[in-house]
Amino acid sequence: MALLNKIAAVIVTFNRSAKLMKVLDALQRQTLAPEIILVVDNASTDDTMALVEARAKEMPSIRYLRLPKNIGGAGGFHEGIKAAYEQGANYFWISDDDAYPEPDAIRKLLDALHEFESNHQWRPSFACSRVEWIDGGLCEMNTPRAVWDWARFLRPEKPWALVDSCSFVSVLIPRWAVQEHGLPIADYFIWFDDAEYTRRLSKSYPGIFCPESRVIHDTPDNRGVNFGLIDEKSLWKFKYGARNETSFRRREQGLPGVMAYAYGVHQQMKRGDVSWKLRGQIFRAILRGVAFRPRIVKV
């Protein structure tokens, strides 16, 4: 069982100062306060810096890492976890700038990790919260992926399912996992960085989903990741997603994995009646992903 519990919260933000302040409010109310709250600012052009500076006067745990340019959520989490690691954190609580943890969310994640290790001797590589949308329902885009024997240690009083993937919205990662598997891939820029990273961590041992730890994700709408939902506005994100997941599949499963993925994307777009023009762009992104082999940076 781990004896040292220095937690660093890593929040990546870009031009959402009002929501970020609500995240800091939520962190201030935590029953287990992170020793470091690292705000990673992706070169915001709004009043983020001024508000964080003012907030730091009353919250001494705040650190502020301003990146010279916007390197996407993936780059932000890469830099943030790296900086927090260098600061000697024993756990990294990773989350978005629009996700508000309930007061006991972090404590419950840490308790779950400790208790799971004590009871079962296995070391989960992360613990993730139940992410709810603002209406209290499950937030579609933040649904963790269960492993085949997800129910192995699940008990009515300890409903911790084994998962091998989750989003960067309220996930607690122990230091050993970062030490062993390195940092999220910054080159992904956006989308699939969290899924790739947590799946990489899961190679040691899966993570655990802790529904008793809750966080509210304040997104404009509650939509999952489905290529049938592509429109002109969201196309750029889906292109990153397609390229990144293809790259991951190529690395982990080879070309058959890429083929299976491409087929799945095709089916989703077909069902969603996505225009051929947009479909073409997604397939081109998949082709780019075949050759896209970003480096995994170790700490």
Partner: protein
Amino acid sequence: MYNVHDVPVAVSPEASKRLQAEIEHIIGIYRVLYPTENLDIFLYEGNNPIWGRPSIHEGKAVLQPAHLSPEFLGRMECPGTDRAGPVITIFVSIPREASPGEVKRQDPDWRPVRPLGALYAAAPILYEDIRYRAEMRRKRLAEKRHQYVSLPFSRGSSLLPAVPEPDSDKAPAILIGMHWLEVGGAEKLGLDSIHWALEAGLRVFVVAGVPSLQRLASKLPDRPDVTFIRLDRYLPDDQWPRYLENLIRAENIRVVHNHHCRQLYDALPQIRVMTPWVKTIDSTHVVEYADGGFPRISGVWSNYIDIHHVISRQLANYYRDHFQVLHNVVLGRMLDPRDDRKVLPPISMQTAQNSLHISFIGRMYYQKRPIVLAEILKSLTGWAKKADIDLRATIVGEGPYLAPLTQLLRRLGLLDRVTLEPADCDVPALLDRSDILLLPSNNEGLALVCYEAVEHGCIPISTDVGAQNEIIPEDLLLPLSPRETVSTCTGIVERLWRDRDFLDRQKAALHAAWARLSADPTAKEALMPHYRDAAGTVGKG
């Protein structure tokens, strides 16, 4: 008791007295480091006035002929609490007394580096340009060559017992670490903070990191509650952490305030773990181009430091931008106590006036770029001659560049227009009669002389370095490249003399900048709460 060799009859009483005093000082230092051990001290006559070349051997000495060199003065035994206990052997020289020449001159006269001597003789500004380019290259490489990550500091687990704070019957004290006790901005703040600590009710211990004659030691308050410990002379660097831990415990030190003392930074792990109740403060001034200087060192140690005191907003931003630190950076300007009734005199310069008085005030070191100053004066004199203006200049300062500057001014034919004054001249009176203050520095923290210039109705013009833009309006800032410094400065002075709107705008901007700075907290205001808190005199006026 220890035995001392008989003092030869030919030795003067003063020398004997000095020897005894130094020996007492050495024993005092090593008794703190080794409170119970038997000390075996081998003393030598030093051949330099600064450093005692101390070395320690934990155990009994195994003597060799080299230990009995011609400089060998003798041996002293200082018994510990147990005669049969461990023995510590110390080898240390007593530095000789400095000669009057050494006391007067801290550094030898500056000379150009040998391969470029001919270039300097032919075109001093080109020599400066090469030096500038070399420095900018070092600046570019600094981020790669030096660490910009704060060292982690784990406070450990609460499952293990905390270090108990010992009871002490001594009055609370502060340890003030200085780079050295020589003239400089950080040292001025260090001396000020000694006075403020005394005012707060703390006893003061002072140490310096760099061996030197410590000429400012004579400026320390002559009081029994101020002690200057010559660790710079007599203690090896690697023993500072243990020494300081013992001193903190023995003397009830509650605060450690670091003014650019490297060894004190290196002692922070020892202080934080062994004496965690001690508050640690540091003050920083200038970001050096080559390696970031003390602000970078301070940022690297940030997790071990409770309060970072900075003298400018630029430095506060430096901590934020390089080390993500916001919460414990405290701005405290190096200004005199606030006086809300103070009314600024009007700035004296007028357009098209017949005469112009330009001043320079600063130490004659490369940092102030005296060679560039001479080139500016040459350029201005040429312009003034054409415009039929009686231009005069006064240069105040001492240091290794004084002689080469004088020589250069003579070569440029400027000595009849330039007056050289010593550092202790009447600066306020000079600023009162000056129209413009020039500061073409290579680097600065925030030069207070610019602030003083405004208070005396004088217009400061400075290079855009450090936090100078916090007091100097944008239109009066000079680029750093030497040739551009010269040409831009001449252009600004010419425009101030010719363009009334421009002059009025600059006067208004200078007064506004002065007011902004004056509204910020002073260093005393930033530090005194911590001193009073440590002294237990909070709220006692």
